[in-house]
């Protein structure tokens, strides 16, 4: 009797879970056939199969430019956020700083404040500095948006770091920099990498700030997609979306790999 009720409940719960997972994942999968359509419209089932929309994307200078633009912006902002993030995480995790929690909370606000506000505010700020229409403004703003993530992941890995190793390194004659590069950085690198990858994705996907701050040749990939979508939904957009998903999957795989590496290191 109880056995049965238990089974029914489990069955219900599992099917609910399956439905939710399907809801989360299926849309991404449905995109695959659509992006290979030979037709002119985003209809399903597709009239035929072809690579024409992919070749259109790859041969269109605008998409390529926007892609590289996004990469440059994402890499630069990630680098800046990581450098500041590592330093600040060290200070906040190891130092006895009064108001530590307050600093953490304040450093998290760029992630919480609606992007529209950040976009408008940065736009008005950089306009006064002659920096609108310049990659630097987007890079700096994206870096500010990424700092909370980087700070959190690096602080987490610093908390798991055994500081005796720093003493060991010093006792073996290593100076500050050698200790930093050879001991600390390799040990917390999974955390740094995870944070950096998330920061990269944040910047790479970011559209609101980019649309406020980018002008003309500084157009990022999401910005280009956005203006494309407003005009018409054509299969080229689906192809770009597909490429972005593949890209994200790749980055996610990197993160999962980094994570398993961190688990391995901490299980020594």
């Amino acid at each position: 009797m109880i056995r049965n009720a238990e089974d029914v409940r489990r069955w219900l719960m599992n099917s609910a879970t399956c439905l939710v997972i399907v809801y989360l994942v299926l849309p991404l999968i449905v995109l695959i056939p659509i992006s290979f359509t030979s037709g002119n419209t985003l209809t399903f089932p597709t009239p035929g199969w072809s690579l024409r929309w992919y070749s259109e994307v790859f041969s269109d200078e605008r998409w390529i430019n926007a892609f590289w633009n996004s990469v440059v912006i994402a890499v630069s902002s990630t680098f800046i956020a990581s450098v500041f993030g590592i330093l600040a995480a060290i200070g906040l995790t190891w130092g006895k700083i009064p108001g530590r929690n307050l600093i953490f909370t304040l450093a998290a606000t760029p992630l919480i404040v609606p992007v529209v506000i950040v976009g408008v505010a940065s736009f008005s700020f950089y306009a006064s500095l002659e920096l609108v229409g310049n990659r630097i403004s987007i890079i700096l703003t994206h870096a500010a948006l990424s700092v909370p993530i980087v700070l959190t992941t690096i602080s987490a890995s610093l908390r798991g770091f055994d500081r005796t190793l720093l003493r060991a390194s010093a006792s073996l004659g290593a100076g500050y920099w050698r200790t930093f590069y050879k001991v600390l950085l390799p040990m917390i690198s999974p955390g740094v990498m995870t944070g950096a990858l998330i920061a990269f994705i944040i910047s790479f996907d970011e559209i609101v700030v980019a649309s406020f701050l980018s002008i003309g040749s500084q157009r990022t990939l999401p910005r280009l997609i956005f203006s494309g979508v407003r005009e018409s939904l054509n299969p080229a957009i689906a192809s770009v979306a597909m490429l972005l998903i593949v890209f994200s999957a790749f980055v996610l795989a990197l993160v999962v790999w980094q994570h398993s590496r961190r688990v391995r290191l901490s299980n020594r």
Binding site: M13, N14, A16, T17, V20, I21, Y23, L24, V25, P27, L28, T41, L42, T43, F44, V83, L87, I90, G91, W94, G95, K96, I97, I103, L106, A107, P110, V113, P114, V115, I117, V118, V120, A121, S122, F123, S124, F125, T141, A144, V147, R163, T164, A170, I201, F204, D205, F212, P222, I225, F226, V229, L233, I237, A238, A241, I245, S248, L252, V255
Partner: protein, 410 residues
């Protein structure tokens, strides 16, 4: 960790200096965030009360209108002289457009009046004698007492005009606050709509996340890992891409409609997109993973035996869940809700692409006033509303943490 002395770093050469090093470590990030984030945002929020565009371009008028009250009737010669002189200067500096815009925001339909007056004033087109009469003859609108009181009411360095407007209030000529006419009262409604959409999204996320979280925690490690990766994957996919996918899926001749038609469930495509429904579908897909992970994080810390214990004590499953499991995962639900709610509040791209005109939230209005009508004061005031909501959520979080802590202490 021996003898508790490891709290000191390898470079500890005494107490105070080492702490300074840590402060130095934090300083670059602090300075960076202040310069690239806090200062720009503060500067932008200041625009909600900043009135310098009006005041600094009408210096003489400010003085001349200092003692004027709307009961005094149309101002006299000196005010007109001051105004004409100010507008002439503004035109020469290229500021008449901004002055006209600001005045038009207060009294609709006066933009060209100001610009044209400024143009003529700059050319010396008004005779010096009987200036007031001269101006009034050419532009009878300057004889409008409402216009004058609207200007005079707001000739101060800091104005509450935009803040009032953003909560559907205005100042009447006597200087009292009153509601704007009903047909203009939109912002509180948008505010309510934004909150409502966020609440609905949060609640649905909770309902959908609970079974998934249970399944993940109950599953074998390998299965759990697969589930987590499956949930992580959409989270890692561009928000824009996911919105576009929903646009494709939900459109009239999109996959969902064609499949349903193929199956003969419907004979005419359903109107799925550009509705509240499509907005919820797209937003929840984006935000649900965060809720799931918040709940899973808490559930993992709950001993599995608690539910077994409750069941062994003879309680029905649902009751046991309600009394034992739910209170323990409440902190996770709370954190997840706060995250989902806060993110939902700021949504802009998804409503813009997938919602109809009635699905637009505060963010859309902020962008509209920033880009289209260049009314930054209002955009800033609306941002303040949004930030106010965020602070509120944050305070609730703090308080709830306090409550939960107390409960676990008992």
């Amino acid at each position: 960790m021996n003898d508790g002395i490891d709290v000191k770093s390898m470079h500890d050469r005494g107490r105070t200096p080492s702490q300074w090093k840590y402060v130095l470590c934090i300083a670059p990030m602090a300075v960076f965030l202040i310069v690239t984030f806090f200062w720009p945002v503060a500067r932008f929020l200041f625009k909600s009360v900043d009135n310098s565009d009006l005041v600094s371009n009408l210096p003489r008028t400010v003085i001349a209108l200092a003692d004027w009250k709307h009961t005094d009737g149309i101002p006299g010669e000196d005010v007109f002289a001051a105004l004409v002189q100010d507008l002439a200067d503004a035109h020469a500096n290229g500021k008449d457009g901004i002055v006209a815009q600001k005045i038009n925001q207060r009294v609709v339909g006066t933009r060209y009046l100001v610009i044209k007056t400024a143009r003529i004033a700059a050319k010396g087109g008004f005779a010096k004698e009987a200036l007031r009469e001269n101006v009034l003859k050419r532009f009878s609108k300057w004889g409008n007492i409402e216009l004058w009181s609207a200007i005079a009411n707001d000739l101060k360095p800091l104005t509450e005009f935009y803040l009032l407007m953003s909560v559907d209030l205005q100042k009447n000529p006597d200087g009292h606050y009153e509601s704007v006419p009903e047909e203009q009262a939109i912002f509180l409604q948008v505010f309510g709509r934004t909150v409502w959409i966020s609440i609905v999204v949060t609640l649905i996320c909770i309902v959908l996340a609970l079974p998934v979280a249970h399944a993940i925690v109950a599953a074998r490690p390998n299965v759990a890992r697969v589930l987590i990766t499956l949930i992580l994957f959409p989270l890692w996919t561009s928000l824009l891409v996911r919105t576009i996918i929903w646009m494709i899926l939900l459109q009239g001749n999109g996959p969902i409609n064609s499949t349903l038609q193929l199956l003969g469930v419907i004979n005419k495509p359903l109107n799925l997109i550009y509705t509240r429904f499509s907005l919820y579908v797209a937003m929840i897909q984006v935000l649900l993973p965060m809720m799931i992970f918040s709940i899973v994080a808490v559930m993992r810390r709950i001993p599995v035996n608690l539910m077994k214990a409750a069941l062994s004590l003879g309680s029905p499953w649902l009751w046991a869940w309600w009394r034992v499991q739910l209170p323990l995962i409440m902190p996770g639900i709370f954190t997840g809700s706060a995250i989902v709610f806060v993110f939902a509040l700021g949504y802009y791209i998804t409503p813009a692409l997938i919602g109809g005109p009635r699905e637009q939230m505060i963010s859309s209005f902020i962008a509209f006033y920033t880009n289209k009508t260049l009314n930054w004061g209002l955009a800033s005031s609306l941002s303040i509303q949004l930030l106010f909501l965020l602070v509120l959520v944050w305070l609730i979080m703090l308080m709830s943490r306090f409550v939960f802590l107390k409960r676990t202490e008992k």
